[in-house]
């Protein structure tokens, strides 16, 4: 009898085989088609198996032990509902990325640098989720990190890519080291690395606290939690666009899986103060991520910073789940946990969509800088429509999916008065306020991203000559846009799909939504609050069509004459509203404190012929206060230790001698 788990492990093995084949095929045209076609087929299969394991009658959890690796441990795999849910996310994201790459991959200048690593990256992510012992988990995790690092360095001649690759490698290694230590603590002195043994063991308070901090650093740095996010806006945009989509949309989710697996599953019951850490970090991440996104004019970096914001939302939601669970409020915990997983799914869908849109723009114009785009809605109508759907979803506007999940998060926040601890009673509404601010800023950010890129007039010749993307990319984007709408219209289906996961980890689940009439969803009870995406959609559609009809019928069709000089607008495209000017009010309100934004105007004296300059200075205080000192300390230490290379023979002898005497002294005293 072949179980879903066998098939999934076989899928991962097939991906690894594809990676090996891709090394051989390298540059040839056939290589790209074969690799991406293969990953597409395998990913679709993964998504289907995962959906079947999650929703179908398949018996989970299933176990599988392969006689590889450490002889006394083997390589253990386990498929439970949590793994199945994340595999579904991975499957959807990877199949979309593969389909997009079938068309987009042709623009790749050096495919031999991308093709072998792409299936390997996919295999790494799949295996992380399936792993059932610390050894397998860490190997798969590091495999995933290194494969994605190689993909970040695909354009290795670019100096910015080199820097991004270096910082990513350092952060990823540090993160894995923290996870290694965390699992070491969990396994205990006996070295019980199997997850079932870790689950069964009783960890002391100190070990639990240490593990929590280490996992927050290890998984959090991969997910992009402030202040460990610095690599993310560098590395995600540096990769080819279909890989950026995977890193932002899917790999951050694998990191969240790691956090959930350790904190919710392996550690078991936790004190309430744990949730305070997670809540505060999540809120800071959301706010700082979206503020950076608003200040950025590189389209892919805007998307990467917005990923940080969304990760923040997910962590806030997970923190709420921890708080409710510690207080024994299992229904509320299930609500918050479901909201987190719902947002995981949503973010992976709409962020992939947005990155594909940015990739299509990059392929069509060669530009990532919004200040040199504009007017693309005329040249790329389908891409712009799909991108608009993605923007509306990420801005959490109804009736799309982003609204549904963020609404659930806020519903969970509204339950905070029932918490027992005063600290949490005061903290959670404040976090909710920060989250609301972040959501509003996120809407502003994506109005800016869409408006500057697609509306107005082309700001560069390249933007004037853009053409719509190829059919593979277009069908991917249309498919993802449809998923965004579908999940927004029928959130009840997704919530019911997540129910088994929350049942397994929280011990409770949200009330079944499919029984509620008219496809509404009601998180607690219908009398308290409910949301009907379908109804809202119908209302928006009807009222918008009505408005359009009225405007077309009632408005006059006569030609109008306007002033010849309309504030300089039609004269040069550069005189349009720009990305920087859109961000200015928000920069002045928030940026002056959080980002230390400074504006300088360099105005020529009357009669002088040089142009005026307007300069904006932004400071990333996380980098300057946290990373720059570390960097300085390391290079100072390295410079000074370098002297050790140039001692005389006698000095080396003395070093050995002194060390020997010190060791003997330590033994004697």
């Amino acid at each position: 009898m072949i179980s879903p788990l066998h098939l999934l492990v076989a899928n991962a093995a097939a991906l690894l085989a594809l990676a090996a084949i891709a090394i051989g095929l390298g540059r040839s045209r056939l290589g790209a088609t074969l690799t991406y076609g293969g990953t597409l087929a395998v990913s679709i299969l993964t998504a289907m198996i995962a959906a079947w394991a999650l929703l179908g009658p398949a018996s989970v959890p299933a176990l599988l032990r392969l006689p590889l690796g450490l002889p006394w441990l083997g390589v253990n795999f386990r498929l439970d509902t949590l793994a199945a849910f994340f595999l579904l996310v991975i499957g959807i994201g990877c199949s979309a990325s593969s389909l997009h790459a079938l068309g987009y991959g042709r623009h790749e200048t050096s495919p031999e640098r991308v093709l072998p690593f792409f299936p390997a990256f996919l295999a790494g992510m799949t295996l992380v989720v399936l792993a059932d012992d610390a050894f397998t988990f860490l190997i798969a995790w590091e495999f995933m990190s290194l494969a994605s690092w190689a993909l970040v360095l695909a354009h290795h001649h670019d100096e910015e890519s080199q820097r991004a690759g270096f910082i990513y490698l350092v952060m990823a290694s540090a993160g894995t080291l923290c996870l290694l230590l965390a699992f070491g603590l969990l396994a205990g002195p006996g070295g019980a690395y199997g997850f079932d043994a870790i689950r069964a063991a009783d960890h002391g308070a100190l070990a639990t606290g240490l593990v929590l901090v280490l996992v927050l650093i290890g998984a959090g740095s991969k997910a992009g939690i402030v202040p460990l996010h610095v690599w993310l806006p560098l590395a995600h945009p540096a990769a080819p666009s279909h890989v950026s989509a995977l890193m932002s949309g899917v790999m951050t989710k694998v990191a969240i899986y790691g956090f959930v697996r350790v904190v919710f599953d392996l550690l078991g019951g936790l004190e309430w103060w744990v949730s305070v850490i997670v809540l505060v970090l999540g809120a800071a991440t959301a706010l700082l991520g979206i503020l950076h996104a608003l200040m950025e004019s590189d389209l892919k970096r805007v998307l990467a910073y917005s990923t940080i914001e969304n990760v923040g939302i997910i962590f806030v939601s997970l923190g709420l789940a921890l708080a409710f669970r510690a207080n024994g409020m299992s229904e509320a915990a299930a609500l918050a946990f479901t909201a987190a997983l719902f947002h995981v799914l949503n973010h992976s869908v709409f962020k992939s969509l947005l990155f594909f849109g940015a990739g299509a723009i990059l392929a069509a114009t060669g530009e990532r800088n919004m200040e040199r785009l504009g007017g693309l809605i005329h040249r790329m109508p389908v891409v712009s429509a799909a991108f608009l759907v993605g923007c509306v979803s990420v801005a959490a506007l109804p009736p799309f999916n982003g609204f549904a999940s963020e609404w659930l998060v806020f519903q969970a926040i509204l339950l905070s008065p029932d918490l027992a601890q005063w600290n949490l009673k005061l903290l959670v509404p404040a976090v909710g306020g920060v989250l609301a601010l972040a959501a509003a800023l996120s809407a502003a950010c994506f109005v800016r991203a869409f408006g500057i890129s697609f509306l107005g007039r082309p700001r560069s010749p390249a933007a004037e000559r853009a053409v719509d993307a190829n059919r593979h990319s277009l069908s991917t984007m249309i498919g993802l846009a449809a998923l965004c709408l579908l999940a927004g219209l029928l959130p009840g289906l997704v919530i019911d799909g997540i129910a088994p996961v929350s049942q397994a980890l929280i011990g409770d689940s949200m009330p079944a939504q499919s029984r509620i009439a008219w496809l509404s969803i009601a998180p607690i009870a219908q009398s308290r609050s409910s949301y009907n995406g379908l109804l809202l959609f119908l209302f928006i559609a009807v009222s918008a069509s009505l408005a359009a009809y009225v405007i077309h019928r009632v408005a006059s069709r006569e030609a109008r004459r306007g002033p010849a000089w309309g504030c300089g607008f039609p004269v040069v495209p550069a005189a349009q509203y720009s990305a920087d000017s859109f961000a200015q009010p928000i920069r002045r309100v928030f940026g002056s404190v959080l980002l230390r934004a400074r504006e300088r105007v360099n105005m020529p004296a009357p009669g002088e012929l040089r142009p005026a300059f307007f300069r904006v200075e932004l400071h990333d205080f996380v980098w300057e206060k946290l990373y720059a000192p570390i960097e300085r300390a390391i290079s100072f230490g390295a410079d000074n230790l370098n002297r050790l290379q140039f001692l005389t023979i006698r000095q080396y002898l003395s070093l050995v001698f002194v060390l020997l005497v010190v060791l003997l002294l330590a033994l004697a005293l």
């Binding site: 370098n642 002297r643 290379q645 140039f646 005389t648 023979i649 006698r650 002898l653 003395s654 001698f657 020997l660 005497v661 003997l664 002294l665 033994l667 004697a668």
Partner: protein, 220 residues
Amino acid sequence: MDSLVLDIAHLLAGGLVLASFMMLYQDRLNALLNVFALHAAILALAVAWQAYIQNAPHLYLTAGIALVFKALVIPLALYRIVRQLGIHREVETVVGIGPTMLAGMALVALSLVLMLRVTPGADYIAREDLAFALSVILLGLLMMVTRRNAVSQVVGFMSLENGLVLAATGARGMPLVVEISVAFSILIAFIVIGVFLFRIRERFDTVDVGALDRFRGDRG
């Protein structure tokens, strides 16, 4: 086993430490080599005494090796080298004699304290022997660190090895093959170092190892 036997073993091991101290303050190469020959002779006596009290005939062989090679062959060869190199005038100590002697005393105290602390349950002779042997080893190292002349560094290394042999013979049941191989490795090391001494001398006109540093590659 009466106390006289123990006292003699103690005396010989202590004599070795004393000879090590004597080496520390010799500032002429010929005198240093004389003391080294004395050092090796005392070692041979100590090992022979151990062979007698432990009733282990193979230790007499070790004592013979020590006497022939270390007390006669190697010092004579070193005399030849020193004469051929024409450096029998002086040994430069980097650190003054007073501080060196003080450091040596501290090292002896350290090894005594350490051995008393570490081996409370061991045999009485073995404990004393080990403490003295460790002192000899540390004093040999100290000598290597405080001298600049390559010949006196070789002598320091040899005296360090003497300490190792003393430790090995103090422990009962050490197989002969280990001692012989240690002795031969020291002999080979001596030959190699001797060859190098001449090569260094040929090239740099000095056997002061400080002079070598000027000829090293790029710095920092």
